[in-house]
């Protein structure tokens, strides 16, 4: 735990120094979006990596956080900071509800994956057709730049916000690794029957994991709303968000503290740089992205974190 906390502190220092040192809009934007992608992957890792429950529908919680926050601000006149908290709470509740429904009936593996995907689709279609969500037109947040309204003039404010969430997610993950709940969760992941036999309640541990995971995803959704000030159902409830969350976590390394952060950041920077390089040829950047994704899986089956671990093991073995 101490080593984890020290690493997290070092991470905060790096982000702080980098943000203070540059005024380049491009760099700050890249950092902000990489942190945002990392947050999504970390959220997914809490349930998918530590709990072994693969969700294809994390957009459900993302969209819930974004829409709850937007509607609270626009229709309820709620302050943006409070609306953000409401968005997180709404996503956590939805996570609990979906988990209660699916885990109670013992859905796992690909069935759980498909049911989450179906839930996200139901919410996407509902948000497209209902009035209070603005339908297909989406919702546009009125421009009121002020820190009190969570609309920072400089990217640095947003970086502080998203870095804060990432650190909270890191702390939650670190706490989970060293807690009774985390041990129970991993026991359920590795062998549910055996875990139950020694007195672990699988339903309770999985519910805790999905609620936490949904809350963090909801925070990412509410953050997205504040940065782009516009959401529509096909973006925030669409499969793209669900895919971004799971790809970052799996490529980085499932069930590791730093893997999802690393995976999401690497993939995000890859997508960004290929888009900048080959932007005039639509499609080529994503062809490269998809190819690299397949190659990463082919040659690093345990993710980037697994690769780093075997490299450091090999290094230690050589030094004897």
């Amino acid at each position: 735990m101490k080593a984890d906390l020290a690493a997290i502190a070092a991470f905060v220092l790096c982000i702080g120094v980098f943000t203070a040192a540059t005024d380049s809009g491009v760099l700050l934007n890249a950092l902000m979006m990489a942190l945002y992608a990392a947050l999504l992957a970390q959220a997914w890792n809490l349930l998918g990596g530590y709990g072994g429950q693969f969700s294809f529908g994390h957009a459900l919680f993302f969209g819930c956080g974004a829409y709850a926050s937007a509607i609270a601000q626009m229709s309820g006149g709620v302050n943006a900071w409070l609306a953000l908290a409401l968005g997180v709470a709404a996503a956590a509740l939805l996570g609990l509800a979906v988990g209660a429904l699916t885990f109670r009936y013992g859905l796992k593996g690909s069935y759980f994956a498909l049911v989450t995907l179906a839930f996200a689709e139901v919410f996407r279609i509902l948000a497209l057709s209902l009035d209070f969500t603005g339908g297909g037109v989406g919702l546009m947040l009125p421009l009121k730049p002020a820190a009190a309204n969570l609309q920072f003039v400089s990217r640095k404010g947003f970086i502080a916000l998203v870095a804060g969430f990432v650190v909270l997610a890191l702390l939650a993950t670190a706490a989970l690794r060293h807690s009774r709940l985390g041990a129970q969760l991993q026991a359920v992941r590795d062998n549910e029957d055996a875990a139950r036999a020694v007195g672990v309640d699988p339903l309770r541990t999985k519910l805790a994991a999905i609620t936490l995971s949904a809350a963090v995803t909801g925070a990412a959704g509410a953050f997205y709303l504040q940065v782009f000030q516009y959401i529509d159902p096909n973006i925030v409830f669409g499969p793209g968000i669900s895919i971004e969350a799971l790809v970052g976590a799996i490529v980085g390394g499932l069930g590791t503290l730093w893997g999802p952060l690393l995976g999401a950041a690497v993939l995000h920077l890859l997508a960004d740089s290929t888009r900048n390089l080959f932007g005039e040829l639509p499609g080529l950047n994503l062809v490269i992205y998809g190819t690299v994704l397949v190659l990463i899986v082919m040659f690093m089956p345990r993710g980037l974190a697994g690769l780093l671990r075997s490299l450091s093991a090999a290094w230690k073995a050589r030094r004897g």
Binding site: L117, A118, L284
Partner: protein
């Protein structure tokens, strides 16, 4: 609401459902039997649709006559894809298969985007607009042909899996992979054959689909979840179930569209899907455990 409105809606749903069933049949083999989650299923359909489009547009080959070209080509494509890419990259882990097929679908969709741009294209044939009157309903002839094609394809698959040596090998691998290997079955070959057959089904689906439909690089993605829904509804691995499940999904979508408005049409499908997964995970028609 009278018969005059409901009947055409149900009939229309049945013909749409037949197309869904065609697309889901291949997935029944690879997801229902072998439990490979193939995210590239929609993208592979898109590839087949472009193949049919190019054959018609450049060489003037009628979509139905393209069947003997597109079906074997898709089989080879599927066999190679499983053997050379998916199998090698996945290391037998489910989460890796998921990522690999996802990566493949991203590559295929964007290759199509590079080659064909994002325009939506369709083909003109003599029979594209011809209709047949059944009672108060008018049904497009290509949709009726697709309906027949779905029946034929599912019968063929059923025969293949139930009666041939390959079918026996596929069932053996699905049930007990290690045991099948010990009995001298080439497991990798069987997986690749299954994948090839599934892609061949998509080739057939594309030939039947295009005369009444269109193609663009994203066209497949809308079918992916529906295809998975049908496989689960039909009872994992049951071809007759997939056919019935497809028809049911088509009718539900059509009726929901009629009753709740066009934009909510698909919600009925996913609500049924969630309910079936929760309360009857063996599927509506999968009585045998």
């Amino acid at each position: 609401m009278g018969f005059d409105i409901l009947f055409p809606s149900v009939l229309n749903g049945l013909t749409t459902g037949a197309v869904y069933a065609l697309i889901a049949l291949g997935l029944t083999l690879i997801y229902g039997v072998l439990h490979i989650i193939n995210f590239a299923h929609g993208a592979a359909l898109m590839v087949a649709l472009y193949a049919v489009y190019v054959l018609k547009h450049q060489l003037g080959v009628d979509p139905y006559l393209a069947l003997p070209l597109v079906v074997p080509a898709m089989f080879v494509f599927g066999y190679a894809l499983q053997r050379l890419v998916i199998n090698r990259a996945s290391h037998g882990k489910d989460e890796n298969i998921l990522l690999v097929t996802l990566g493949i679908s991203i590559v295929l969709e964007n290759l199509a985007l590079m080659i064909f741009k994002s325009d939506t294209r369709s083909i003109d044939t003599a029979y594209t607009l011809s209709t047949l009157q059944i009672g108060p309903a008018f049904i497009a002839v290509p949709k009726l042909v697709a309906f027949g094609g779905a029946l034929l394809t599912s019968a063929l698959l059923l025969w293949l899996v139930a009666r041939t040596d390959l079918g026996r090998a596929i069932r053996a691998v699905a049930r007990e992979r290690q045991g099948a290997k010990l009995m001298g079955i080439d497991v990798e070959h069987v997986y690749a054959m299954s994948f090839g057959i599934a892609m061949a089904c998509l080739g057939a689906a594309a030939c039947f689909l295009l005369p009444a439909y269109y193609v663009n690089p994203q066209v497949g993605s809308g079918f992916v979840l529906i295809a998975f829904t049908i496989v689960v509804l039909g009872g994992m691995g049951s071809f007759a179930g997939a056919l019935l499940g497809g028809l049911l999904v088509g009718v539900v979508e059509s009726l929901c569209g009629l009753l709740l408005g066009e934009s909510l049409g698909q919600i009925g499908i996913f609500v049924i899907f969630i309910a079936v997964l929760l309360f009857r995970p063996t599927g509506l028609f999968g009585a045998r455990a």
